[in-house]
Structure formats: structure tokens, C-alpha cells
Symmetry: C2
Subunit: 196 residues, 2 copies
Amino acid sequence: MTALDNLAKTLSRLPGVGPKSARRIAFSLIKTQPEFNRLLAENIATIQEKIRPCSICGSFSEGDPCPVCSDSTRDRSQLCIVEQAQDVITIQSSGAYGGLFHVLGGAINPLDGVGPENLSFDKLMKRIDEGAFREVIIATNPTEEGDTTALYIRHLLKSHPEISLTRLASGLPIGGDLEYADETTLKRSLHGRVSF
Amino acid sequence: MTALDNLAKTLSRLPGVGPKSARRIAFSLIKTQPEFNRLLAENIATIQEKIRPCSICGSFSEGDPCPVCSDSTRDRSQLCIVEQAQDVITIQSSGAYGGLFHVLGGAINPLDGVGPENLSFDKLMKRIDEGAFREVIIATNPTEEGDTTALYIRHLLKSHPEISLTRLASGLPIGGDLEYADETTLKRSLHGRVSF
């Protein structure tokens, strides 16, 4: 195996990078400015020293606690539960939410051997028991695993009837087309129809 | 800008990696085994020391001359001219060609300021003058730039009437569907129809 095959094979283990794009990237790295390769290699080699999970919410951050958890202007009565750390960034960039987050680290998935004990539910319940949350927003993915996880959270929160529990709305994506909507999305969208 | 944004921005400069996939890859690099990051960084940092252009054909190789140029079992009467070094690998992996290659380093593109003087035509003509080629196969891309480059090669090879000059067939891709073929491909495919 040549150094080129080696690099392409390593690159193809990145998410969303197939064998063909890995080869294309490898070729570009042969032809690029050497400084770019040094910069990229350095960034990759040091990322795990620089970014760590926040000890409170579990999102990735350079500082601990993360900027969201330590921001005193955020609404501490709202808690948004997400599967992954990147979901925090996605919701943050929507600009539509001003509360706190909790990262579960995945979703319940018995087929992959991920049970509630593998996710940060203990930490979640500790935060809820000790905090003053008035609303918990479930923002798990609209998938089977995300649905199962949402049901599990609803079960856990039975001990806190004072907290209102919500979940992100499902339905047709904005800019989407009825013709291309899948059956399940359409069903959910009908089921959750709102007065207009 | 955080280390995460920094890494994502650097990754998004790779070909075929948009801002969203760059972010996704960056997150995966935070969560992956540290050894993987070390391996990837090392591969990227050293690729340009390990892989260099072959001094004969211009394709990328760990040795010089490259394995194709130094393989005495290959047919030295055939020369296949390609735009990029990666095209050599693509044609090699088809297993349908056993001759030699010549990499131009691009295609003639006046709009981008790429003229014949920027491509390895001098080297090409030296190889053809000194070699014993009976056939030259033009394998430039079926694009406007590739077509211009092919015409230029035909012009150059007028001084070698003993060499038969061919070009890769254009037409419908295998497994393709007439309905989805673009007009130009269909025209070429009709124009180049073969008896059956």
C-alpha cells in the first residue's frame, strides 16, 4: 500500500467521506501548499486537547463550564435536551432559544446496545432535581431512537409534575414540497396540524 | 474563533467538503480515538515528502520513475494522455489499458489563464519524438477545456503521421437512462453510434 492509499484509507474513515472523495482529498493534499497541510495536521492533532465536554451540560467547549452554562443572561428556567453536542450548536445558530442545554450523548438504541445507562440520564435528573426548571424541551431526533428516548424522558419526569414537558414540532420542512414529503413526515404533519 | 471553528474552517477548504460536513468531521475528530487523529495528522503532514510527480510521465508516485513507467511488461507503443495524475489511477483501475501515460497537469483554459505553455506539452513531444509510439490515446475530459486540449494535441501530432491518434469514446454512461441524459451527451452518442 502506498502513502497515497494509506492517506485515502484514513480519510475515508471520516463521516460522509467515501472512498472516491477520500482519494480526491488525498490528491488535493499532494498538490496543495505545504503550509496548508501543516496547519490541517496541527489542528487535527491538537483538537482533543483544546476541546473537551462541559462538565455540566456535556456540550463541547474550550472552557469548562461551557459559554452557555456560564452565561448568566440565559434563561435558567428552560432546559433543552439533545442527543449530541453538535445539536447544541445547531439550535444555538437558529437564534430561537435562550435557555440551557443537556447533552445525552446519543439516543436509546437497544439494537446497538445503547441503553439508558449509557446516556447521561443520572446527570440530567440531578440537574433537574437541583435546578429550578419550569420547562424541559425534548429535542431528540424525530427517529425511532429519538422517539424512544423522548418517551423515556417523559417517564423520568413524572416525578416533576411542576415542569412542563415539550418536544420540538415535527412536520414538513420549510421550503419543502408536499410531493416529496415521505409518508411518515406527512402523517406527523397532519396529526400535529395547527389552527391558522 | 474557537479551536472547533478553526478546524472546521480548515477542513472546509478540502475539495467536496462544505461547511456542514466540515463541522460534522470536526465533531467526529473530537470524539474519535486519539490514535486516529495522530495517524491522520501524521499522514497529512508527510504526504508531500512521500509522494512526488514521476519525472517521466508526471503521475504521482512514491518512486521515480513511477511503477507504470518502470514496468517493462507494459506496452510501450501506446501512450495515453490525461489531464490529472488521478486520471492515471482511474484508468489503471479499469484494467482496460496496458500502455504508458502522460499527465498534462490540466487542460487548456484561456479564461483561467491556462495556456499550452502551462502544461507539459514540451515533455510530451520530447517523449513522442524519442519514443516508438504507434498509438496516442487522448483521455482528456469530455468538457470544453478537454476538447480544446484534444484539438491542440491533434495539431501537435501532425508532425507524426505514423502515429494513430484516438480519443476516448463519449456517449451514454453504462447503467444510465436516456431520460436523464443531457442533450450534449445524447448528441455525441447519436453522432458516434456504432453498428450493432
